[in-house]
């Protein structure tokens, strides 16, 4: 199995975003910025849509489930790579977390329309390559690749 590692080769441009935990008012801002930037590149509409879904779901998960983290986007000539890292709490059972409909979202998060348990499954669905690793007490790392 592939392991999570940033692939530094052939990077044309890097975007970096810090995401704070529980900052609901700004949730979605980073992915919206990413989308607007990629819109300006000559990227095809449906590819753009997939990247938008991947980054949005990742960002929301950082806000509602993690203790804070980062999203790095590597723009390459043939693909976009998205790296999501956080500083905890980590996911105990990744297989369970990846199951459609599984969610530990709080009542507050559910009230805001999150918590359908579809984020991770959708991230995997829209990615051509998807790697998730997590260590309890350390953090979660996700790599997603969308090829043009």
């Amino acid at each position: 199995m592939n392991t999570y590692m940033k692939n530094e080769s052939n990077v044309a441009m890097k975007l970096h975003y810090d995401i704070s935990k529980d900052d609901f008012s700004r949730a979605g801002e980073a992915s919206s910025k990413i989308k607007n930037m990629l819109r300006q590149l000559a990227i095809e509409a449906n590819i753009l849509r997939r990247i938008a879904i991947a980054t949005y779901e990742a960002e929301i998960n950082l806000v509602i489930h993690s203790l804070g983290g980062t999203i790095d986007v590597y723009i390459k000539p043939d693909c976009i790579e998205i790296y999501v890292e956080d500083v905890g709490p980590g996911i105990e059972n990744i297989e369970l977390a990846m199951t459609k409909g599984f969610s530990t979202a709080t009542a507050v998060a559910r009230e805001m329309g999150f918590g359908a348990g579809m984020g991770l499954p959708n991230m995997e669905k829209v990615s051509d390559e998807f790697i998730i690793e997590s260590t309890i007490g350390v953090g979660t790392q996700i790599k997603m690749v969308v090829t043009y």
């Binding site: 044309a12 441009m13 919206s32 989308k35 607007n36 930037m37 819109r39 300006q40 590149l41 000559a42 990227i43 509409a45 449906n46 753009l48 849509r49 938008a52 879904i53 949005y56 723009i75 000539p77 959708n122």
Partner: protein
């Protein structure tokens, strides 16, 4: 890209270069250059936001005047559906329509009637076929254009149906030609609540040529009608729509007429943008239908209407009751695709692309990032661009200079 005709125009003499419109423009189509606002044609979607906020009335809509009636042998007025909401209750809509005849139109067709027929067609279409949900209404042309330039992935969701005004015009023109008029002799004239509808007559989406010849503004016609309405005596029956068609003048009226349950109807361009952003990432896939309007309160809020939008909205609501929401709709336009649907594809117009070549677009993007870092980031608009990032983009595309930034220029060197 083909030359794009726009109804929204700038009257330079009135513009004093203030920045009111800059920030309001949802597609960042306005720049202030040499003290005057300028509209970048490719980017304008004719929403009319700038028209509305300009304190000096320096922006207008290119529109014909009623004198144009002299150019045709036989003229037909198509009052917009929101025309219903412009007149106080003492003036019956049918009387208003008769006043239009007195103004010189040879015929008036109740556009709302075309809307209620369209709703019947649309309902059957949505029920029968499999579509990408939610389907997006094309009734507000601003929203369709916004999707073309910014949300091309949603083009497949657009329900490719004509606007009621176009269905009415096609129908009337066909009849008049059968009666022996030549196409040149017929003048079908829309009474428009907004510049966007005028643009879609001159520059239609989804069809090659509009069946409507020209548009006049509700504003002009309203005052002319008010001058003569008390003198209108012989009254012919013209108004024929039930409440279902009239309701299209307000937000949600279309969905109501279609008897759709799972829909959202959203007004105001900023709110619509938020919804389209969510829709683009698949957050609204459980909905059946989406009705979006650039104007707050929908078409009654059109910038060329005269009545306060909330009063107009209330009147329309009352009129829908008066003319009945459950009355049977007379189907006197055949429910076939050639009467109801668009026949040319809707193309994306990706105006935000920096370059058609990915590599060059990337290079430009890198430069834009560099300039954005240098610029102060306070988005003051004094350079004439709506914000620092747009200035950076303009610098990279060769349309502005770093020195245009007032703050940077005044900074002590060193």
């Amino acid at each position: 890209m083909r030359e794009y005709w726009h109804s929204v125009v700038l009257e330079k003499d009135y513009c004093n270069g203030c920045t009111h419109c800059l920030d309001r423009c949802p597609t960042q189509a306005i720049r202030i250059i040499d003290g005057k606002a300028r509209i970048i044609q490719d980017r304008c979607i004719d929403c009319g936001e700038c028209l509305r906020v300009c304190p000096y009335h320096a922006k207008g809509a290119l529109v014909s005047s009623i004198d144009t009636l002299n150019n045709y042998k036989y003229t037909v007025a198509l009052p917009s559906i929101s025309f219903y909401g412009q007149f106080s209750e003492e003036y019956d809509t049918n009387k208003v329509y008769n006043a239009l005849l007195k103004l010189g139109f040879d015929e008036v067709y109740d556009t709302a009637h075309a809307a209620e027929i369209l709703a019947v067609y649309e309902k059957a279409m949505v029920e029968k076929e499999h579509y990408n949900k939610p389907l997006i209404s094309t009734y507000c042309p601003v929203i369709t254009r916004l999707i073309q330039i910014k949300y091309p992935a949603l083009i497949d969701h657009i329900i490719k149906l004509e606007a009621p005004m176009e269905i009415a015009a096609r129908h009337v023109r066909k009849r008049l030609i059968q009666e022996g008029y030549t196409s040149d002799e017929i003048g079908i004239i829309y009474i428009s609540p907004c510049p966007a509808k005028i643009t879609s007559i001159k520059n239609p989406i989804g069809i090659d040529k509009s069946s409507i010849d020209e548009a006049v503004s509700t504003e002009e016609i309203y005052y002319k009608v008010m001058k003569i309405i008390d003198k209108v005596t012989d009254i012919k029956p013209i108004q024929c729509s039930t409440g279902k068609g009239i309701g299209w003048a307000r937000v949600g009226g279309q969905s109501y007429a279609m008897e759709i349950d799972d829909y959202i109807a959203v007004d105001g361009i900023d709110e619509v943008i938020k919804v389209l952003e969510s829709m683009e990432i698949g957050k609204l896939n459980s909905l059946d239908f989406f009705e979006g309007y650039a104007c707050v309160n929908g078409c009654v809020g059109g910038p060329l209407n005269v009545e306060n939008t909330f009063i107009g909205k209330n009147r329309v609501r009352k009129l829908t009751k008066k003319y009945g929401m459950d009355e049977p709709v007379t189907i006197d336009i055949e429910l076939i695709p050639e009467n109801m649907e668009w026949d040319t594809p809707i193309k994306p117009m990706p105006i935000f692309k920096l370059d058609t070549d990915f590599k060059r677009a990337l290079e430009k993007m890198a430069k834009i990032e560099e300039y954005t870092q240098i610029l102060p980031g306070i988005n003051c608009g004094a350079c004439g661009a709506p914000n620092c990032r747009v200035l950076a983009e303009d610098i990279v595309s060769g349309n502005a200079k770093l020195e245009d930034c007032v703050l940077l220029k005044n900074q002590p060197k060193g």
